[in-house]
Symmetry: none
Subunit: 192 residues, 4 copies
Amino acid sequence: MPQEAQPRQLIVEAAQELFARFGLAKTTMADIARACGKGKSSLYYYFASKEQVFTAVIDQEMSGLKNSIARAVAKADTPRKKLRAFAMARLIYLGQKADHYTAIKEEHLRHYGFIEGLIREYSHWELQFIQGILQDGLEQNHFRPLDPPKVARALFFALKGFEYPWITSISQREMKRTVDVLLEVIFQGIAR
Amino acid sequence: MPQEAQPRQLIVEAAQELFARFGLAKTTMADIARACGKGKSSLYYYFASKEQVFTAVIDQEMSGLKNSIARAVAKADTPRKKLRAFAMARLIYLGQKADHYTAIKEEHLRHYGFIEGLIREYSHWELQFIQGILQDGLEQNHFRPLDPPKVARALFFALKGFEYPWITSISQREMKRTVDVLLEVIFQGIAR
Amino acid sequence: MPQEAQPRQLIVEAAQELFARFGLAKTTMADIARACGKGKSSLYYYFASKEQVFTAVIDQEMSGLKNSIARAVAKADTPRKKLRAFAMARLIYLGQKADHYTAIKEEHLRHYGFIEGLIREYSHWELQFIQGILQDGLEQNHFRPLDPPKVARALFFALKGFEYPWITSISQREMKRTVDVLLEVIFQGIAR
Amino acid sequence: MPQEAQPRQLIVEAAQELFARFGLAKTTMADIARACGKGKSSLYYYFASKEQVFTAVIDQEMSGLKNSIARAVAKADTPRKKLRAFAMARLIYLGQKADHYTAIKEEHLRHYGFIEGLIREYSHWELQFIQGILQDGLEQNHFRPLDPPKVARALFFALKGFEYPWITSISQREMKRTVDVLLEVIFQGIAR
DNA sequence: CATGAATGAGAGTTCATTCAT
DNA sequence: TATGAATGAACTCTCATTCAT
């Protein structure tokens, strides 16, 4: 498969890097074109607009993140380990891409309605995923009685906060430890 | 008291609303000028650039948030209540401003270096604040043995996640309940 | 030959006319665009800035002037005639372009460093040229003993003054006569 | 006489310095106001517009130059010395002001019609002055027969060229020597 | 006599997008 | 399939000038 010759994918990859580094507003179509060695107007052969390029990037990142998470969690056997795998997979995925700044983490997202659908969909997926882990844990009697949807939601938001490590100047290693501290406390709270 | 006639403050308030609704990039100086009934160039009499207006807005929001938090926490007497007050004050403050989306939450922040200083400073303040509560709780023997800096950091990030309610379509009321669920779990984990 | 359809050259010509008439500061990109029937932003497809347009204009004028001078001087056979050809070629070239006022004479030049290089280079060329004529004249025994570099410099400055006919209200014809008067005096001074 | 308290003069002096250094276009009213420690709008109490300030500056410079020249020439006794004094006084006056760049030398002048009157008037004065010297010389039998108006005009333009020393990077000292070379040649041409 | 406040009218520049080829 | 050429619309920022005080 001549995969590197697929121009659409080439564009998305170049754009991903740029959006991640400079954000949506500050990345121009000219930048993207230059980065993938094409003429600026050629991009419009594959995408109707800059927004669409951005959407494609986000979409791809979300798929990647989903896969990473799912794969990591599958390897874990206890609910506790699963939850930890979940949190760590997020941290690692978001941390390894493009110098720690992925487009997915953009708060700009808020202001670009055209992407809300994707965001919601992905968030829903995460929520369900966490809830699933909790449900399993409950059924396997690992946890005290708890309301899975509610606790899942609490965990979902709590873990979201870790997407913004740059706020302090913290290394990924320390972030991982911090996640562990949080999970430990939480498990102390919910484990039987 | 002609307090509402102070033009600088007038501008900041108009800008706050607009930045909150549309973000830094999509809010123009012309918009701000229109919103406060001034000529576009008049803004430049008070601020040297759009960045400076934005900085002033962020600065003001952070002060407001700090005050809200400090006031709310002061009213609480136990560490548990304090922590809850802290989290709720954030939620309420960020939720009540400008259509629920404040500039403070802007991720642009990362891409606009000129504001990093403010962000870091504020984050530091929060971190210290949480740590203080934990320390007190420890000294008053409310908590099991724990490492205040580490747990404070974990809480800091966990609570940060609640700044992004729009990701799901959740009411503020439900957000509060969700915070409560999280805190309950966490207290179960750390309380003696 | 679609030579007049070359857009870059089209722009330069329009700009030349305008700069000459109104000067750098008072000529706007909008003016230039209008003058060559293009959209304002189109100019930026060919030139990165107004400065670059100006530089291109100056560059072209200097080339033109050099050519005019060189061609005129080549036709003359004695040093005296050569010197006269030199002076007249300048006068005619600078007088025939765009309402008699060319951008080349712009003093802005001094305030816009980006063009200094061009100016220096051209001045150097002129200086050498005059010196060459004097040298030849000496070798052919047309002149009394004189120091070519020094006299060349004196002539260079003296002729420079004739670039500013507008200072008085004098016709080109009279200017030519005036140059002749000067040269006559000077030749009386240096000829053998 | 409290001469330094005269605000009009204060403004003119500040403006002179600034125009000389940065040119008319790049000097703003704000700059001038700052430089003389006044509010920007105060300038309009003394001058109706920026143009008028500029005109005042030019006017003053021309007066100064006239005085310098007249004084220098008065000290010389022979026509030859007078002519030399004339040329040198110009060189020195234009060279000593504001880092070698006086507003009077601005070619901008060309593009600012409101000043043409002053320019012409001054040029006329110079022309007459030179002619006067020549006339005297003729009458005192220092010169071969010549047509004073014509030769005066030739000299006038020739000396004008020396106003632009910045073109080559030449010291004032060398400029003086160059003027001397020119004058020597010319005297050889006209002296009896 | 002096000025702080305010602004209208642009300036240069950028960029997503279009279209003929 | 790909792009060079071209542009309209908008943006930030500047500045001479006005005017109430």
